[in-house]
């Protein structure tokens, strides 16, 4: 049985092709203006990686902001539910999931079955999202992926405005011109993000084990900062790219539906 999950986000789109309990193809691409075009592109890439075509897919679940506009999906499911499912598959002991995507951040608690028991989201402002890190990395003149590594070497992390990305940007420029080491600024950026996230997750209550999904999970600086704030170790996602967790969850739900359809 071949099924698929497609997660169309504002910055990136992800797709996973799933066969008999494993991922056989996956892709992450930059999103385009129209969600159906993004979905088509990323799905074709994932299918190509698996050596399959759209006709081979028995059931496809779509998620993300563009989910209802994807023409080839049989069902649209919220990304919260998909992230929960995907995280549970990747980390079977997980009960609390933190997801920081391109334009929003969420925290959710799962029950024994991997279903979402409670969730909270905060995306009113860019300063709690991947977009914040992108903007800050650009101002610092470093690669986004380097932010985590840099922050580990910080001696005196700076305090950054965390209520407004534009004002935080102004702070970074000022620190740079004052000769503050890049490592300290990188740590300040990660800490600002982590503090916003910690507040969110504490609102629903932390229940171990905890993991982080979404692109920002690849930033070790943010991870360790959140760990310090929550006083609990986060489980790292190693079996797959944390960015595709939503698509994995969508594929899992697709497998369930297809299995149910058959029986």
């Amino acid at each position: 049985m071949i099924v698929a999950g497609c997660d169309v986000g504002s910055l990136t789109s992800k797709a996973v092709v799933w066969r008999d309990g494993s991922i056989v193809g996956q892709a992450v691409t930059k999103s385009r203006a129209k969600p159906w075009e993004s979905a088509e592109a990323v799905m074709q890439t994932a299918l190509a990686a698996a050596g399959l075509g759209m006709g081979d897919v028995e059931y496809c679940v779509g998620t993300g902001y563009g989910r209802e506009k994807i023409p080839f999906v049989q069902e649209a499911v919220s990304e919260i539910a998909c992230h929960g499912r995907g995280a549970r598959w990747l980390v079977p002991s997980v009960r609390t999931v933190i997801d920081i995507g391109g334009q929003d951040c969420k925290a959710m608690r799962l029950d024994n079955g991997g279903n979402v028991e409670k969730f909270v989201a905060n995306d009113k402002c860019a300063s709690g999202t991947g977009r914040f890190l992108e903007v800050m990395a650009k101002v610092l003149g470093v690669e986004l992926a380097a932010l985590g590594e840099l922050s580990v070497r910080a001696r005196h992390p700076v305090t950054l405005a965390n209520a407004c990305t534009v004002w935080a940007q102004a702070d970074v420029i000022k620190y740079l011109s004052d000769g503050v080491p890049v490592e300290d600024i990188a740590a300040g950026i990660n800490n600002a993000m982590a503090a916003r996230m910690a507040t969110l997750v504490n609102h629903i209550g932390v229940e171990p084990d905890i993991c982080m999904t979404g692109g920002v999970a690849k930033n070790s600086g943010v991870l360790s900062s959140i760990e310090k704030l929550l006083a609990v170790r986060l489980k790292r996602i190693r079996r797959a790219d944390p960015q595709i967790v939503g698509a994995i969850g969508a594929a899992l739900i697709a497998a369930e539906r297809a299995g149910a359809g058959r029986s």
Partner: protein, 384 residues
Amino acid sequence: MSPDWMEAAVVLENRFVKRWKAAGKKVVGYTCSYLPDEVFHAAGILPYRLRGYGTEECTIGDTYFGPFICSLPKCMLQLAGEGRFRFLDGAIITPGCDSMRRLDECWRKAGDDHPGIVPGFFFHFAVPHKFSDYTVHWFADEIRRLIAAVEAHFEVAISADRLRDAIRVYNRGRELLRELERLRTLPEPPITGTDALAVVLAGTAMARDVYNDRLAAFLAEPSPEPPAHRGRIRLMLVGSANDDVELVRLVEGDRALVVADNLCFSARCHLDPVPEDGDPVEALAQSYLRKNECPRMYGQYQGRLELLRAKIRSARVDGVVMQNIRFCDLHGAENGLFERDLEAEGVPCLRVEREYGALVEKGRLKMRVDAFLERIAHRREVCA
């Protein structure tokens, strides 16, 4: 449902208001449900609940108000600045909350720059934040002060008898609205939450006696076909003011039904009868100030929690959607307490923050509502 209801909900100067004005009668806008409409009805003036519905941008609102302010009064000011409230002969500003009370000076100062937008009768009507003997006494005096000002400006007489008549008319409306609310609690409600809000909004924009007749006829109409509402997830919607039927439609979608609410602009403001005998001003002061649906009545959280619990029981609510307009700290923080206490009792809750104004965040809101409905649906499966 007659399109007249929806017209009153989405058109500010609706047909009824136009006819009223064409007949040479007066209209006075007001911002807060604590204002006793009966005063104006008794004066032969149409009391019109001010709204910010229908703005497409907010440059005028943003010019006078500062940045960290709820968008509802800003949108009201925007409409005023665009001249959309020129049909008003008066406006009453009440300190329902800090953001709303600043509409007073912002509107007046905007009037210096945009001539003709401040109605001839402009009145600051205060309401205490608690209910006790001396606050009721003060509030009764405030109502008398308002009556005196209306009489002087509009050259009308508002006698005790006319007030009692107005109270009777409004009580009839309250009785009908209670029936509407009861129908919404049925296993197969004959009306969606979207339509119910439209019906209630219409009552804030037409004369109460006319509204009563229309509402009575509407309630007596048989449902044309049994609506396909069985099985839908039953929600209660609470929080900041909402006069946008589209928000309710977004929450309901095709899987849910808003069967109860506790919102400003909704039926909660119009349910409890006012005594029809005795001194009418005292009766109005007692009845209006006693109302406890709004967090502006500080220290009464437990009473409001009981109110929600009672509605959850009577309407067999599956989950509560708690929304607040950004910068609305009163509803926003109280939603936090409600969430804590209701979740502890096993009632699923969703808290969302939004802007008031043109409904522009549909994707974000829908994603959260969908996830919430999925959670409830799963819970139903487990409990079945």
